[in-house]
Symmetry: C2
Subunit: 427 residues, 2 copies
C-alpha cells in the first residue's frame, strides 16, 4: 500500500506556520484531554489538535475496519495492535480529509467545532500505556566517551560492544510526558576516597538525549523477529530524555547495571511520529566493522536523518543550545535492536518502548549528556549571562527537539520539556 499521506505537494486547509514540525505530511498520534475533560486519541496539523475519536463517531473513518471505540481510549495500545496496514489507512484518510481540496469537513462548521482544538486548549497525556521499557546503548561515540571517563581511554569500548546492541531493562512506571516536572532524587553515593556511602540528594543529575521507538505486538514468546521484518513492528518514535543521577549510578551499577540512578524519571515528547512519516528521511547508518553475526545483518538505508538539539534554561534565564546531534549517528539500527531483543524468544507487546541510548555525535558539541559535555565535571559549560554548569541545578529546564528536513519538507517531533525540582527532604 502506498503512503499517500506522505505526498509532499499536499497542502492542508488548516493553517501550518512556517517551520512547523507538523505539516499535513506528519500526522503523528497522541492522547489528549480536551477542553471538555474528555480523553481522546488525536493527531495534529500545525497548531491545531484533531480529535480522532470525534471524527470516527462522525463517520469520517467509515471505510476503514476499526472498532467503534478505537480512538476513545486513554492510550494508543489497541490502535497500535491493529497493525501497520491500519495505521497507513488512517494516516492516508486523515491526509485526504484535511487536504485543502477536500470540502467534507472543511465546509462543515458543526463538525469542525467538534473535531478541532487549539493546541493551548488541550493537555497532552502519555500516548501509550508502556508495558515494558528497554534502553539500548547504541551510540559508539557515547559508549566510547563513557568508557574513557569511567574505565580506560585505551580500551574504552568493551569487547562485546561491536557485536551486540547492548541493552538493559528500565522502569515503565516513571515515564512521564513533556511538561511534567521531575524531582532531583535522593540516594546512596560513595564520597571520593571513602569506603562508607552517604545518603542525600544526587549531586550529578544529568539528562540523556535519546529517541525511543514504540512497538506493536510482534511475536509469540519463544519466537524471534528476523531483522528484515523488524521495522514492520515499529509504530513510531518520540524524543526521550533518560534522566540520570551519575553519582548514584557510579556506586550502584556494578555488577547488575543502573537502577535507582535511572528509574526516578524518564520524559518523552507526547506525539508519536510514525515510521511511515519518516520514510523520506531514510539514510545509511555508520559502517559496521566487524560485520555483525548473520541475525543482525542488514543492507540498505536503515537509519533516519533526524536533527536533534538540547536547550538548557536556567531558572529565570535565557535558553542556551548546548548540544546538536543527529539520530543517524546511532551505530546499531532500530531493526537490529529489535531483532537482537527477540532472538532469544523474548515477547514484545503493543506499547512497549525501546530507547536508543544517548545519541552523541563525533564532535564535542554533539555530546548528548552533561557527563560528556562537561567531561565528568572537568570542563564547565558557559551559559549566557555568565552562569556555568557541570551537571544540572535545581530549577533548570531541559528542552529537547528533533526534526527532519529536505527539499522544503519538515517533519518534526515538537519537544520534550522538563523542569528539574529540588529533592524532597531526606531524613
Amino acid at each position: 500500500m502506498s503512503i499517500k499521506a506522505n505526498d509532499p505537494s499536499r497542502q492542508s486547509w488548516l493553517n501550518v506556520p512556517e517551520d512547523s514540525d507538523f505539516p499535513i505530511q506528519n500526522i503523528p498520534f497522541g492522547v489528549f484531554l480536551t477542553r471538555d475533560d474528555v480523553i481522546t486519541i488525536g493527531t495534529r496539523i500545525g497548531d491545531t489538535a484533531i480529535d480522532l475519536g470525534a471524527m470516527h463517531q462522525l463517520g469520517y473513518f467509515r471505510d476503514i475496519p476499526l472498532t467503534d471505540d478505537i480512538f476513545l481510549q486513554d492510550s494508543l495500545n489497541d490502535f497500535i495492535s491493529d497493525g501497520k496496514k491500519t495505521w497507513r489507512l488512517v494516516r492516508n484518510r486523515i491526509a485526504e480529509v484535511f487536504d485543502k481540496n477536500n470540502p467534507e469537513l472543511q465546509e462543515h462548521e458543526a463538525h469542525r467545532k467538534t473535531v478541532l482544538f487549539d493546541m493551548d486548549e488541550i493537555e497532552m497525556q502519555l500516548p501509550v500505556q508502556i508495558g515494558d521499557y528497554t534502553d539500548f546503548y547504541s551510540s559508539k561515540e557515547h559508549a566510547t566517551n563513557v568508557g574513557s571517563m569511567f574505565r580506560d581511554p585505551d580500551n574504552a569500548l568493551l569487547p562485546n560492544w561491536l557485536h551486540i546492541p547492548v541493552g538493559y531493562h528500565g522502569r515503565s512506571s516513571t515515564i512521564v510526558p513533556s511538561g511534567t516536572p521531575v524531582r532531583r532524587p535522593n540516594g546512596q553515593t560513595l564520597p571520593k576516597d571513602s569506603t562508607q556511602p552517604v545518603f542525600g540528594p544526587s549531586k550529578r543529575v544529568d539528562f540523556e538525549l535519546e529517541m525511543a521507538f514504540i512497538t506493536t505486538d510482534a511475536n509469540k514468546m519463544g519466537e524471534p523477529i528476523p531483522v528484515a521484518e523488524a521495522e514492520d513492528y515499529i509504530f513510531g518514535l518520540v524524543l526521550f530524555n533518560d534522566w540520570s543521577a551519575r553519582d548514584i549510578q557510579k556506586w550502584e551499577y556494578v555488577p547488575l547495571g543502573p537502577f535507582l540512578a535511572k528509574n526516578f524519571a524518564s520524559s518523552i515528547s507526547p506525539w508519536i511520529v510514525t515510521l511511515d512519516a519518516l520514510e523520506p528521511f531514510r539514510t545509511e547508518s555508520p559502517a559496521q566493522d566487524p560485520e555483525p553475526l548473520p541475525y543482525l545483518r542488514q543492507t540498505g538505508k536503515n537509519s533516519f536523518d533526524i536533527s536533534l538539539e538540547v536547550d538548557l534554561i536556567p531558572e529565570g534565564g535565557a535558553p542556551a543550545t548546548i548540544c546538536k546531534s543527529n539520530f543517524k549517528y546511532m551505530y546499531w539500527t532500530m531493526a537490529q535492536q529489535l531483532a537482537h531483543h527477540t532472538v532469544n524468544g523474548c515477547k514484545v507487546n503493543s506499547g512497549d518502548m525501546m530507547g536508543s541510548g544517548t545519541i552523541s555525535g563525533p564532535t564535542p558539541d554533539s555530546y548528548g549528556s552533561m557527563l560528556e559535555l562537561s567531561w565528568a565535571g572537568s570542563k564547565p559549560l558557559s551559559l549566557p549571562g555568565g552562569a556555568t554548569r557541570v551537571f544540572l541545578e535545581d530549577g533548570d529546564t531541559v528542552v529537547m527537539r528533533g526534526h527532519c528536513k529536505s527539499e522544503g519538507l519538515r517533519i518534526g517531533f515538537g519537544e520534550v520539556r522538563t523542569k528539574l525540582l529540588p529533592a524532597p527532604a531526606s531524613n
Copy 2:
C-alpha cells in the same frame, strides 16, 4: 483489625488432605479458567478451587465494600489496589464461610455447585498483570558464590553489596505461570579463548530458586516509602524461577547488567499467599554488619521461615531433590528492598513484582542454582539412575516448592513446575 482468618484452631467443611499447602488458614488468591471457560478470581482450600466471582454474585461478600465486578477479572490488580484492609476483610469472610461450623454455603447445594471446582477442572492463569518487574540480588551466600566463580574468591562481594539491596529491572512480558513450558534460548556467546562470538542455543541454561512479592499502589512519583511502612504495600508472595542462560549472561552483562540471558522466561507459582497468612512464621533476618544507612534500618522480625526445595526431573526419569533452602537466608528483607526501590521517588503500582534474587543457604546442598550446585560446571550432580547434570538438558523439568510449618500448621505455595524444551531452529 485482627487476622481472624489465621485462627489455627479453625477447621473447614471442605476436605483438606494431610500435609496440604492449602488449609483454611492459607486462603491464597489466584486467577483461573473454570470448566465453563470463564475467567475468575479465586482461592483454594485443600484440593478445591473456590470461585470468588460467583460467591460475590451470590451475596457472600455483601458486608464488604467491593465493586460488583472486583472478582470477575482476569487479574488481581484492582483487588490488590483496594488495599490491605480489604484483603483482610475478604480473607476473614472466606474463613468464616468455609468454617465447618457455618452452614451458609456448606448446606446450600446449588450455591456449592456454582462456587466449587476440583483443582483438576480448572486452569490456573497468571494472577496479576505485571506492570514492572524488578529482581533483587539479596542472598549473601549467592552473591558470594557468584563473585567467587566469576571474579575473585578473595573479594567475592562487591563493595556496594553490604550497603545496598542491589537490584535491577527485568522483563514483565515473559513471566509465565507454572505449567507453561520454556524454550532454551538462542543467543550470542563467546567461546573459551576466542575473541569472536558465536550464535546458537545456550549451553548453560539454569534455574534460579527465588521468591517474588507483589505490591499494591504504594506511592506517588517522587515520594519514598519508609521502611517501617513498606510491608503495608506488599500483598503476598509466590515461588519464582528466574530462568537464566549463563553463557549468554557472561558475554552480554558488562556494563549494563543481564538482559537476554534472563528475559526469555521467568516462571511463577499461580497462588499468591498473602503476607497476612505468613504472619505466624515471622523470623529474624541475618544480622547486618555494617549497619545499613538510616533509611534501611529495621528492628524486630522482618523475614519469614519458608522452607524451599527444588526437584529436577529428567525426561522420563525420577524426581531428584537437588536443593533445600529457606527464604529466611535472605540478607536484605522485602521491606528494605521496597524502601530502597522507592527512596529516589520511583513509583510502585498494583501488580508490580519484585524477585528476591537466588536464595542460596550456607551449605552446598542449599545452593539455589545449577551454577552454584555444579560450581560453574566443575562438579557434576549425580541423579538417580546414573545420570549427571552440570546445567539443564532439554526435556528436564524443574519443580520448586515452598511451605511454612509450625505446631501442626502448614501454609504452602504449591509449586512452580516448568519443562525445558529444545531451542527453536536458529539460522
